[in-house]
Every structure is written in structure tokens, then in C-alpha cells.
Amino acid sequence: MYKKTASQLHQAFLEGNLTASEIASGFLQRIQFLDEEVKAFLNVFADRVMEKAEKLDGKRAAGQPLGKLAGIPIAIKDNIQVRGEITTCASKFLSNYVAPFDATAIRLIEEEDGLIIGKTNLDEFAMGSSTEHSAYQITKNPWNLSYAPGGSSGGSAACVSARLAPISLGSDTGGSIRQPAAFTGTVGFKPTYGRISRYGLVAFGSSLDQIGPFANSVKDIALMMEVMGKPCDRDATNIKKTSEPYLDHLEGSIQGKKVGVPWGFLEGLSKKERSIFEKNLEVFKQAGAQIVDIDLSLLKYSIPTYYILSTAEASTNLARFDGIRYGKRSEKARTLDEIYDMSREEGFGAEVKQRILLGTFVLSSGYQDAYYKKAQKVRSLIIQEYKKGFEKCDIVAMPTTPTPAFEIGGIQDPLEMYLQDLYTVSANLAGLPAISLPTGKDEEDLPHALQLLGPQMDDGKVLHFAYQFEKTLKLTGFIPPLFDKETPS
């Protein structure tokens, strides 16, 4: 059962080959036996998911209509609010914070009968590229347990990779879905900015954040987008356009279509990564597409631009964690200032503090023009450059990351860690839909990946190209060997 994609599980449930309870308990069992090693989950909703599954079985038996996600277990990154459950954001600050409401994405999943199975680990407040910055546990890469799964949505990536859940939700502010997808051999999609409501997603960089799905097939991603990519009046930045039939757009040849490659920007790619990337481009050629060179030279400024804007927004978004209304309050604090200082000192980890400081600095009077305002201008230019680039091609292809997964503890220098986001942040800065696809594994058995980016609002096109790529590549049974086994029942 664990080898099935989400769509296959849903089909099996509809056809009566598997009950929702069988599916839910099967995955709960895998989590119980295997998550010890992966440490993807912060919280497993065993009772909740079984109760929901039994209800679904009842609904099916009674012949009632069933939702698009009926029978599919879905894991949720622990920075997305699920009403009545704890939302930690992998921070000590929120260790006892119970969500008072459902995120829109969660509401939509439940309306379509999805089975919310638990909450997954992340870098604290989604700040990091390795999930090592969780205050609770270090998540392992299922392909090699001494390697990091990437981040910040490392738990969501790892659980789908190890088949502890067929689908998970992540959030992507600068690559937090795509980079861990690349590291764990899963498909990870960051939709157009505003496509999925951010209501209920704990904000990091509000103008960059997007919720998106992880899965083991593009079709499953398309299914999730049909469910979650809907207008929401609780998010003012949400796209007020009705959901697209993404699944219907997957088929159709890409013969003669143009795949743009910013060769200039990719100059720094290592020899090994370049050859992997070129092989992936061959797959497109095989599918009948042409490869064209496009100029995206401004992307070399995307890392500093991103770290200025995201930390500026984060410094204010995280100001609400003050020890007054909810979450951590230092027991040592005696005065108001001490409540602020000590609660934040004790509640936040080092990476979060560093980013709050950086963000506060770039917004400070006297420095705002040199940093924040300049970064805003560069962001506008990057958006322009992408617009021009898309006049020449249908889709842009790039590697997802500069390297495959690294060892846990292998990157100590924060600046080196920030470079993990080199190829992913521009999609967030420009608000573009972007997907990371597994393309095979290297000699060390670590997955490698390809990233595809489309014009704003063209989520369907990105999924179409991704699906055609997947179909042409025919990467089958791409399961980490350690987890490619049944668990005792």
C-alpha cells in the first residue's frame, strides 16, 4: 500500500479495494515503526485520523458523495494552523500553543475528505535550509540518515519520501518546499504567490510565503492544487480567481515548446551538477521541446535581495511573539521589558534571533534606503527580467539546488547555508510558480532534481511541463531503500 501514490490510494478507496481505515492505520503503523529513524513528525493525530477514516468508510457505505481527497492521509508542516491542535512552528516559544482556527488550506482539505494525519518538523519558524534549526528534533534524510533532508519543510519532505504519508503540505518562502523536495527525491511545488490562501500559515516573509504540496507524483500535486488553489476572502493578497482544472491540463504534447535556460546565471554550477542538469534537458528534447538561452543575469542579486526583504518582514511578523497573550512567557521576568526580553531570549533559537536582528537593522532609519528600499528596487527589476525572459520561452528550467543533500552538521557557516537558496529564491521574489522534480540519484545514492518555473498565474503550465517530463523520464520505484519495506502489523 505504501508504494501507491495519493491518487492511487484514493482510487483504491473509491473502488472498495481499501477502506479509509485500512489506509489510515497502515500509514499510522509506518509512522510508528519508521519515524523513529526519520523524525519527520512532531505530532501524530492517531485518534483524530482514525475517527475521520471511520466516518469516511461510513459515508462510502451509505453511498454519500465523497471528496476529491477521500482516503488520502496528509501530513501538515507545523507552521500551518489546524484547529484544536498544537502549532509549534518548531519553536520553544509555541510549545503549548493550541491553534484557535483552521488555515484555509486545512479547511479545503477537510472539505474534500482528506485525512490530516499529523504535523511535521521544520526549521524554527521556517527559517533554515536543513531542518537542523528545529527546537525539538533533527529530521533525517530517508536516503541517507546522516544527511539532512533540507529545509525548512524538511519533515514534510522526509515523510513523503519515506512513504510515511503520500502527501504533505509545506511552505516556501525562499525554497523551503523545493530544496527539501530535491534532497529527498520528492515532488515539491510552490504555486504562484497568492494562489493558495496564506490564512492560517504562520507568517515568515508575508510577500514571499506560499503553502504548497509535496507528493511522489506530479498528478498528486495537481490534485492538491485543485483542492487548495481557491480564492479566499480572508487573505487580501490571495488571487481571486476560481480554481483551475489542473488535472485536465497535464496531458498534451510539449512538442515544439520552448524551455528557457539562463545559462549566464548558471555559470557557477559545478561540473557534476552541470552534467546532471544537461541530462535532464535531454529529457525535454526527447519530449520534443526546444532548449533556448535566456538572460536572467540579475538573479545573481537574488540572495542578498531575498535575505533583506524576508528578514525585514519577519522582524515585524515575529514581533507578536512577546510573552503577553500566548506562548512562552519567561518565569524570571518581573517587569514589562523583562517579559519581552527574556521570553524572546528563551523562546527563540539562534537562527531566528539572527534573522530578527538582520531584519530590524535593514529597516532602521539611516539604513533603510541602502538596504530595504534598494532590495525592493532589485526585486522589481527581477520581476521585469523574468517577464522579458518568458517572452522567449514557455517555461524556465534550472537546477533546484547547487548541490545534492549535505550531511547533518555539514554546513556551519550561515552564509554558506543561505547559498542553498541560490536557485530557488527568485521564484519567491517574482511570485512565480515553481516545481522541483526528482530526476534520479547520484553515485552516493542521493537524489538529484530539476526545477521548472512558469510565468505568474501559469501554475497549470508548470504542472503540465512537469508531468510531461516525468512521463518521458519514467523514473519508477524511486523509494529510499531503507524505507522500501512493509512494516509488521
Binding site: 500551518i80 494552523q81 502549532t87 512552528c89 509555541l94 500553543y97 491553534a99 484557535p100 482556527f101 488555515a103 496564506r198 490564512y199 492560517g200 500559515l201 504562520v202 507568517a203 516573509g205 508575508s206 510577500s207 476572502d233 480572508r234 487573505d235 487580501a236 493578497t237 525585514a312 518582514e313 522582524s315 515585524t316 514581533a319 507578536r320 511573539f321 512577546d322 503577553i324 497573550r325 500566548y326 514589562l336 519581552y340 530590524t360 529597516l363 532602521s364 532609519s365 533603510q368 530595504y372
Partner: protein, 489 residues
Amino acid sequence: MTVSYEEWEPVIGLEVHAQLKTRSKIFASSPNRFGDEPNTNIEINDTGQPGALPVLNKEAVDLAIRFGCGVHAKVATFSKFDRKSYFYPDSPRNFQITQFDMPIIIGGEIVADVEGKTKTFPLHHAHLEDDAGMLKHFSDFAGVDYNRAGVPLLEIVSEPCMFSPKDAVAYATTLRAILEYLGVSDCNMEEGSMRIDTNVSVRPKGDKTLRNKVEIKNLNSFAHMEMGIEAEIRRQIQAYSKRPHEDPRLVVPSATVRLDIDKKETILMRSKEEAKDYRYFPEPDLPPIILTTDYIEKIRKDLPELPHERFKRYTEKLKLSAYNASILVNDKSLSDYFEEALKFSSHAGALCNWITVEFVGRFKDSEIDLTTSGILPEHIAKLVTFIDNKKITGRIGKEVADVMVQKPGKDPEIIIKENPNFQAVHDTSAIEPFVDEVLSAHPQSVEDFRNGKDKAFNFLVGQVMKLSQGKASPDVVKELLIKKMLPGK
């Protein structure tokens, strides 16, 4: 030391915070209502829950536009929100959402009557923002009530265009009237729905440059505002006079003060040198407000009669004195009361007198006022009509008014019917002796009347009325006089 106050010119500018009369809050669905149990009118935005997102209330925008149209300002077709960062427990996100550099309303003017002179006070701008909660101090702890958090505010900023405390009071009085007439705010200073920060500086008469300004915080009545401004002007002039040769910037540094009502002095709260860096930057959760001119014009067409228009109508059409007209116009509820009474009587002058002098006077030392007393405007109109028709005399009218105040809602017609002393005497036999007495006492007037002098007739009527202590029916008196003086007719 002698200080010559005449050599100095005060310069005053006002920042008025008006709470907008919307049903719900500016960025949340919770009700905008004063006086409820603490923390009952709140939803996730009002306590800054993680994952909550602000959504702009269209009603607040419409009211801001209404104000802009009402003061002949430019309504910006593009304006935006910004985050203003500071930590305080009443601020649920520790940043306020305000409009920093692109406000919705630009310019405009307030035309006010200052001691009989019409003056025009230019506005700088008005912007939308959210109100904070309220701190409540108990014996050994403090609590926060977030009911007020997120209440929409319009901050109306004048130019430094007032040159005396009287100017400032006239400006504020007129501004309040405009806000009330437009239905933008109920401007209740006691409940804090209108709050005034006053900026005061002084300069030697003839100087064109402005000196350092001092802000007087939280003046919660016009009387206090006048007192505060007077005190602050005095303080600054004394300071400059004491240290005439020093750099004025050092003599009166920019600062915030508060008024000590008992001492009638302003007291330093903090110097502006300690000014905070609010790190303003554009609010990423809210798209800009983009308005079409059609939309603005539609609201403009819908404006009600404004105070200066009503003033004009009162003085020109109803022939009220400027003094009486402004008493009514500056008090919207009284003026509306007068308008209601006008529907039942066309004698505007008499109505105005009875309302503003007789009835308002009777509530002078009372907790309640006329408009909320339960006395119907229709009844005052009826009383005026009775007097006008000579059904009762003016003197009896005053007594009837006393009863109306004692028994609010009681029809004067019934009051008169129930009390024989209030009824005009129609009985010929009771009036005849007075007529005979007057005729024999004034033979010359009888002669004049017979020679066609109307004046003489009115005199004789008056004399009879006097003898009857105002109770005789004027019609009966007239009839008897004619019968006796011109027997054949």
C-alpha cells in the same frame, strides 16, 4: 522679570484621531462597539494570533472618502498601508497598520467661525489606521482589553495654521461637527472616539520660520484643549524670554507634555530626542487601495448637508442670527432636533429661541440634555404654535415648558387642558369687567380707534390682557372691544 506676551505669536497644529462608525473593525470581522465586557469583541486578528491576516473593511474606506469629500480634499486614487513597529502590550502584533507616506486623503480645509470671523484652516492629510487595545491597571497587575484593538481610526492632521487657542477650539468644534454630519464618527470625547493631540510652538511676531513644537497629549475636552494650549504658550514664551540669547532649539526642545488640570500647567512627559525609530515599511499583507474617480464621485454625490451649508440656510432662509445659527449647527444633535421640530412649525425664530434658550436652559445643570430627555421636538413645535395662535400667552408657555421638562413626552395640549390656570379665559362675563375698566381708563384711545387708528386697538387689547394676567383669550377680548366701541357693527 516681565514677559510681554504680545510680542509672540503662537502656532498650533492639531492631530485628531476619529474612530470611524463602522460595524466591524478595520481589518477584522469583530464588532466595533464601545462599552462591552473586556475582550469580548475580539477575533484572531485583534489578539495578533499567528496566521491571522488583515483584510481591509470597505466601510472604513468609504467613510474616509466621505470625509475627504466633505472637507474638499483630494481623495487619493492610490494609497497604501505601512507597518509601524513598536512594542507595547496594547498592540496585539507589536506593529500598527497605518498609512505612512501615501495617505488616502490629501489636503482639504476646515472653514470655521472664530468670534464672528470666518477663517479657513488648511488640512495636511488624513490617513487610515487601526486603534490599539487599552491597558487597565489593577492593584498588583495590569490587564489588556483588546476590544478597541482594530477599531478604525482616521487621523486628521492640520497644517500648523492656527494662531490662538480660540482658533484651535473653533477648528476642533467645526471638525467635530463635520465628522458628525457626515456620519463618519460619533466624536464622543469621553468615550475616546475623538482624541486630540495638539502641537504648539511660539515665535516672535513677524518671524516666518517655525520653532520647535511641543505636543500636548490626550486632551479629552475642548475646554482642556484650550487650557492646555494657553498653558503651553505661556510656558514657551516665558522660557524664550528668560533665555533670550540662547539657541531657541535648546531653550524649547521638541517634547511631549501633558496637561495638569489642577495647576493649569503643562508637564514634560518625554523629550523627542528619545524619539523611537518606527521602522515604517509597506504592509505586505494588504494590497494598495486603488480607487476610481467614479467611485469617489458616487460617494461625493451622496453627501448630506454639511455644517456650513446648514449655517447658511439658517441665517439666509430661516433668518436666524449668526449667533443662534452657530449654536445649533455646532451641536449636531440639537440641530437635528431643531430640524425635526421645524417639520411641525414654520416659526423658525421662535422655535430656535424656545429650543436653545428656554428648553436647553432648563437642562443646564442636569445630567441629561434636551435631545435625549424624551421631550418630543413635535411638542415644542406645538407649544410654539399655541403661543403663536394666542391660544396661550408666552408667560403661560413658560409654565407649560416647566411641566414638559418634569414630565418628558407629555403633550403640551394635554398639559394645558389639565390645568385650568393654563387655559385662556374665553368666558365673556369674566372678561367684560376688564374691558369696561380699560375703556373707561383710556377714552383717548377709544377716540383714536374710532378714527381708524389700529395702533390704538392693539394698545387696548394689550391693556385688557394685562388686567387678565395674560389668561384672557385674545380673540374674545378683541370681539368684546369692538362690540363695545362700535355697537352698531
